[in-house]
């Protein structure tokens, strides 16, 4: 394992910069995610306008990988629709599982590409995917609610 490819500049900067680590005023969605085996815990906050993610932030504790991954994800989904976010999640998880390897398809992930090498570290995969699974959960719930409405 190459440590510098794991703790790349993108990761360490997202980990240190707390620009997405904040409460979102008037958030419509709060979703907790946790990873009991590591103790990582995050709370995702989304402000929606219809299907559009107007703003997003998170609070919580965790390792650099989970914190950076959360922050990167938030940068990526801000301003996107839930549908677009869903697609990003799929591609991201596909990248981590090595099911998607096509460079062009992955391009859309932007900074999140920095987490690509995590696939080599089974013990840290859970950290990288925590935020993404949490968002996925939220989107699923909303879809269900919409159906029931």
């Amino acid at each position: 394992m190459d440590l510098s490819s794991l703790y790349s500049e993108i990761i360490t900067e997202h980990n240190m910069s707390n620009h997405n680590k904040r409460h979102i005023e008037g958030a419509d969605v709060l979703e907790k995610g946790h990873n009991p085996s590591c103790g990582d815990e995050i709370e995702l906050e989304l402000k929606l306008q219809g299907d559009l993610i107007e703003d997003a932030g998170y609070t919580g504790v965790g390792c650099a990988i989970s914190q950076a991954s959360t922050s990167i994800m938030i940068d990526l989904i801000r301003g996107k629709t839930l549908e677009e976010a869903k697609q990003l999640i799929e591609i991201f998880l596909g990248m981590i599982k090595r099911e998607i390897t096509d460079e062009q398809e992955l391009e859309i992930l932007e900074d999140a590409l920095a987490l690509r090498n995590i696939a080599n570290m089974p013990s840290r995969v859970k950290c990288a995917v925590l935020a993404w699974h949490t968002l996925e959960e939220t989107i699923k719930k909303r879809a269900l609610e919409d159906k029931n409405d």
Partner: protein
């Protein structure tokens, strides 16, 4: 000399991520000496059979190996009788056996169970279960600043209502040595039974159950050079006698009819099903190794190492050490954090230097919460570790923050 010890442990002689393996996670599980591996193989090569059940030579040999291990354990921990030694698969099973068989039957509504806040989940969650099922109260002994259980805490918490006290002799997070003798005495003075979780003590220091006068003592083979899959429950005969069996099945019965069963005598009553004779063979070799090495020497080596480690790590900026620094009150377990770096990142970074430490809650979440930390890093030592190991740990630790962008790399 160090070299000679390490020759016994081939597992340590390997490269990890291009560096020599520095194994500092013996509190989780220890590496095994060649003599233990050989004993296991010898067993399977020449004596393997189901013990207690056969009237043929191989089965007699297997029985002898198994029962001989019982005697070896009895002597190692200073117990009075073979029948007080029950084999389990690990400490966790041993504690659950006590909880199901003693706890569920002899703890009643309103009784109090006292454990410490530093317990491993294995000595905590079973008592939550007993307390809930029986309407008993689960009370905690808290720690002072140094991470120790104070005398007053023992005096105040263990009362006439207390029926069962269960504490670890050595904390698997802080390495602190608890005053178990005082706790046992206090428990007995109020008529409570006392259980000692010796998973982190028996591998590392002389423990004599008769001197301690503990009612039950539990520990795991895999934390004392033996293979996985074998553990020990010591219990006083009178208590074991009055307890119902835990696992029901082959070899633990006297007579079985369609609707009724009577049970075998001790210790067989508690050993249902085919036992792990290969594990017992390995355990006997492990104890032999420890006895030949000398438990005093084991303890001396670890004390030396923990002293050295405390000094070394204290020199590194941004390192927070937890628990007492008084090595008279501490075994070879060191919990610490690196400021701004999550323990999991520390472990990953150290791994790239070949250094194996553990990061997380160490199966002691209530202690983490009590200490107001989410997780810690833990380095733990055993007889095969050296000062050089600690030098490598310290060097790697000094680099850790830089990997995450704090300071210049």
């Amino acid at each position: 000399m160090d070299k000679k010890i390490r020759n016994d442990f081939p597992t340590l002689d390997q490269m990890v991520n291009g560096c020599r393996l520095v194994y500092l996670d013996s509190a989780a599980t220890t590496q095994k000496p060649l003599s233990v591996m050989k004993e296991i193989e010898d067993y399977y090569r020449s004596s393997n059979a189901n013990p207690h059940r056969g009237a043929y030579s191989l089965s007699m040999q297997a029985t002898q190996i198994y029962e001989n291990t019982r005697t070896i354990i009895k002597e190692f921990i200073g117990a009075g009788k073979e029948k007080e030694i029950v084999f389990t698969k690990n400490t966790t099973e041993a504690l659950n056996l006590i909880a199901y068989s003693y706890g569920m039957n002899f703890i009643n509504k309103g009784d109090e169970i006292v454990i410490s806040i530093a317990e491993h989940h294995s000595n905590l969650v079973p008592w939550q279960q007993v307390a809930k099922a029986k309407g008993a109260v689960l009370k905690y002994l808290y720690l002072d600043e140094e991470g120790l259980i104070a005398k007053e805490e023992i005096e105040n918490k263990i009362t006439a209502k207390t029926k069962l006290v269960s504490v670890t002799q050595v904390s698997n997070v802080l390495g602190t040595i608890n005053p178990v003798k005082e706790i046992i005495e206090k428990a007995h003075s109020v008529g409570a039974i006392a259980i000692i979780d010796a998973a982190q003590s028996i591998p590392h220091q002389r423990v004599n159950v008769s001197e301690l006068d503990a009612d039950f003592i539990v520990f795991s083979g895999h934390k004392m050079l033996a293979p996985m899959g074998i553990g020990v429950l010591y219990g006083k005969e009178a208590l074991l006698e009055k307890m119902p069996p835990f696992l029901f099945g082959g070899d633990m019965i006297e007579y079985v009819t369609e609707q009724d069963t009577t049970y075998a005598e001790l210790p067989y009553k508690f050993e249902g099903g085919t036992q792990n004779v290969g594990g017992a063979a390995g355990l006997s070799a492990a104890v032999k190794y420890l006895q030949e090495f000398g438990m005093d020497k084991v303890q001396a080596i670890e004390k030396d190492l923990v002293c050295y480690a405390i000094d070394k790590l204290s020199e590194i900026p941004h390192i927070i050490l937890y628990g007492t620094k008084d090595v008279e009150k501490k075994a070879g377990v060191l919990s610490f954090n690196v400021e701004d770096v999550h323990p999991h990142d520390v472990a990953t970074i150290l791994d790239s230097y070949g250094v194996a430490i553990r990061a997380g809650h160490h199966c002691a979440e209530p202690l983490m919460r009590y200490m107001k930390v989410n997780a810690t890093c833990r380095a733990s030592f055993y007889l095969y570790n050296t000062k050089e190991d600690i030098d490598i740990l310290a060097e790697a630790l000094a680099d850790t923050r830089r990997w995450l962008g704090y300071g210049s790399k």
